[in-house]
């Protein structure tokens, strides 16, 4: 999962978390509200309970009496009370409005016990020998009466839960869909920006709501590519144009250096011109190659290569064709008998090893021993159990490299500019890194024991 996908996953998860949080907060608020209401009802002194009121009534000597507390209860609510006998006659009353009847039929009782008695909301309570009725002023109580089939109650409960969860899931689904759409629209743009930063070409579809942004990115990519190509072509042109004049400088300087009739000082000076011209020649070649590798203009010509023989040829070339006074070379094969081959561009790989050897020579002018080894090991960064990689190690016992510089060279990210990692080691090590990356390998710089520099290049390989 890349950074963009991680960002959107985190965004979706955090929003889902917010929704769940809202759900629980609302449930808690509902519970709190219900608890508060219940508490209010229980503690409110003004609440009227007909059951409690009935306890304050007494029947003595054939008449009903209400005590003082019952009277207070009625007075506080501006209520009235009456007791009906089994025939519907009022046998006791207190504060009963004059306009209300004193006799009720069974149907009257049935109606007011459910609804109202002349707009007076009433409550009824059965007591020994009759029915206690308390009434309140019109508009002070709301009475609702309903009955439900038990199966309907279950359906109702289930439906309520279903509606709630359907809403929740619908909301989640719509949110995820929208987030996905945004991700889908944004992903190419973000990938385009990433490609731009890596100097790669950008080709986004110029349609849809974000077509303008895509078109701008395409334009920026094209512009950068054109600029890079122009720069690469310019370097290529310069390096090409300089070759013929440099050939003449090299040629004449060599001629003068080799002419025995000339004074030794003149020959010595010609030798300096020749050496500096050779350096210039190498710089031109390096600049051209690094530019081509930087802008992916150097096509690889892959072939199967024996890594041991490759290393042998590079060392042999050094010993055969260069002055190596003060330098000694050692070569070892770590896995003698193991037959593996690399698939790569021979010219570039020769250049890579040559540059590493040249680096040791250049930075140890007083001389040193250079040891080159080739081995095979299991590849760590792969799931293939039989994946192997070839390890080239170029080690010297010279003065080595300071840790800051080593850290800079070991940084995995691409520098993106020629200047950034060529401050002290020229283009040589940059080219080594570029060639290693072009072959999907890795490079690591470390201090040699007891002193010196060890460079380890790891490249994928296959069994023969």
């Amino acid at each position: 999962m890349n950074q963009i996908e991680r960002f959107f996953r985190r965004y979706i998860l955090s929003t889902a978390g917010i929704l769940i949080l809202f759900f629980f907060v609302n449930v808690l608020l509902l519970i709190a509200f219900l608890t508060m209401t219940d508490l209010y009802n229980n503690t409110n002194s003004k609440a009227f309970s007909i059951e409690e009121f009935a306890e304050h009534l007494s029947y003595e000597n054939g008449t009903w009496n209400a005590d003082a507390q019952a009277m207070d209860m009625l007075e506080s609510k501006n209520a009235w009370a009456m007791i009906l006998d089994d025939s519907g006659q009022v046998i006791w009353e207190e504060c009963l409005p004059e306009d209300l009847p004193r006799s009720y039929t069974v149907s009257d009782v049935a109606v007011f016990s459910k609804w109202y008695l002349d707009d007076h909301p009433v409550r009824v309570w059965t007591i020994d020998g009759g029915l206690l009725v308390t009434g309140f002023p019109p508009g002070t109580l709301v009475k609702q009466n309903f009955s439900l089939d038990i199966s309907y109650v279950w359906v109702l409960l289930f439906s309520t839960a279903a509606v709630f969860f359907i809403n929740l899931f619908l909301m989640l689904y719509l949110f995820l869909r929208n987030a996905r759409r945004v991700e889908k629209a944004m992903k190419p743009i973000l990938n385009g920006i990433r490609d731009l930063s890596a100097g790669k070409p950008v080709g986004l579809p110029e349609n849809g709501e974000l077509a303008e942004i895509n078109a701008s990115l395409n334009h920026a990519g094209k512009y950068m590519l054109e600029k890079d190509n122009t720069r690469a072509e310019w370097i290529r042109g310069i390096s090409h144009d300089i070759r013929t004049p440099l050939s003449m400088i090299l040629g004449y300087a060599s001629e003068i250096e080799d002419t025995e009739d000339l004074p030794s000082q003149v020959r010595h000076q010609a030798g300096i011109i020749r050496k500096q011209s050779e350096k210039l020649k190498q710089m031109v070649a390096d600049l051209n190659l690094t530019t081509r590798l930087e802008y992916s203009m150097q096509p690889l010509h892959p072939e199967q290569i024996d890594p041991v023989e490759l290393a042998r040829q590079v060392i042999t070339d050094y010993l055969n064709s260069r002055q190596t006074d003060g330098f000694s070379f050692g070569f070892s094969e770590d896995n003698t008998g193991d037959n593996f081959f690399l698939t790569g561009d021979r010219t570039l790989l020769v250049r890579m090893l040559g540059n590493l050897i040249q680096n040791s020579i250049t930075h140890n002018p007083e001389g040193c021993h250079i040891e080159i080894s080739v081995g095979v090991q299991k590849e760590r960064n792969t799931k293939k159990f039989d994946a192997r990689c070839v390890v080239f190690t170029v080690s010297d016992d010279g003065k080595g490299m300071d840790e800051t510089q080593m850290g800079r060279l070991n940084r995995p990210e691409k520098s993106g500019s020629i200047a950034s990692d060529t401050r002290e080691h020229g283009l040589g090590l940059k080219i080594v890194r570029q060639i290693t990356e072009a072959h999907h390998g890795s490079i690591y710089y470390s201090a040699a024991d007891p002193h010196g520099l060890t460079v380890t290049v790891t490249l994928p390989c296959q069994a023969k």
Binding site: S247, S254, E255, E309, N339
Partner: protein, 239 residues
């Protein structure tokens, strides 16, 4: 340099084609100083073809980028009827250019800027290959190897070389004084698929030493370079 060139090779006719007259002047100077006596120059493709038809040079040094008719076109035209050795000497150093040169029949490809010595060594190698000496005898510290007859003369006795030993010796002789890697020697006698042939190579080397060295266990002509390969020293090379 001249002592490395057999006299016969120094008399070979060399045609150098480049549109840079200053470079032509320098190259002429280099070749004359090296002992070559017959050097022609051409500054265009047309002139090169004209001189090639009229003068029949033994070797051509050809630039690629010349006005009107470029070097590759000239080379194609030459290759229609001739196998004359051609060395491409050009500022075009990309791999594709080199491949184009070899595809069109170039025998060697040298990229500018170059050291005059390198050019002379390459020309010498091309001439040696194209015009082999009728008598090819190699003098070593303890023996003489006749490459034509595949024979070794040591202490007045003649021993024959096997085909593999001869191939091996020729490869070492081509690079006399230089280290030749194990892989190069193996591929010289076994071809492209030489892997696993290293131990057999050691056997051939041992047999060769028995034939050419005074004391094969202490070789002085055919030296092992540990881990890398072998090096042949002839009497010409000295030590």
């Amino acid at each position: 340099m001249s002592q490395l060139n057999p006299t016969t090779l120094l008399h070979k006719k060399i045609l150098i084609a480049d549109d840079e007259t200053d470079l032509l002047e320098m190259l002429c100077s280099v070749f004359f100083r090296a002992g070559y006596t017959d050097v022609l120059t051409a500054s265009s493709g047309e002139e090169t073809l004209k001189l090639w038809r009229e003068e029949h040079p033994d070797l051509i040094i050809l630039d690629v980028m010349m006005p009107r008719t470029d070097g590759f076109t000239v080379l194609k035209e030459i290759r229609r009827t001739s196998r004359v050795p051609v060395l491409m000497l050009t500022a075009r150093g990309e791999a594709e250019d080199r491949f184009t040169g070899f595809e069109n029949g170039a025998d060697d490809y040298l990229i500018k800027p170059f050291l005059p010595k390198e050019l002379l060594f390459r020309v010498q190698a091309l001439l040696k290959r194209a015009y082999p000496e009728p008598e090819r005898k190699v003098y070593l510290a303890a023996s003489m190897v006749d490459l034509e007859k595949a024979e070794v003369w040591k202490d007045g006795e003649c021993t024959g070389l096997t085909a593999k030993e001869l191939q091996l010796f020729e490869k070492l002789y081509e690079n006399a004084g230089r280290i030749v890697t194990t892989g190069t020697l193996c591929s010289a006698i076994c071809g492209e698929f030489w892997q696993g042939y290293e131990s057999t190579l050691s056997t051939h080397i041992r047999h060769l030493r028995e034939k050419i060295e005074e004391n094969p266990s202490k070789p002085v002509s055919l030296i092992t370079v540990k881990g890398l390969g072998y090096r042949l020293f002839t009497e010409e090379d000295g030590k």
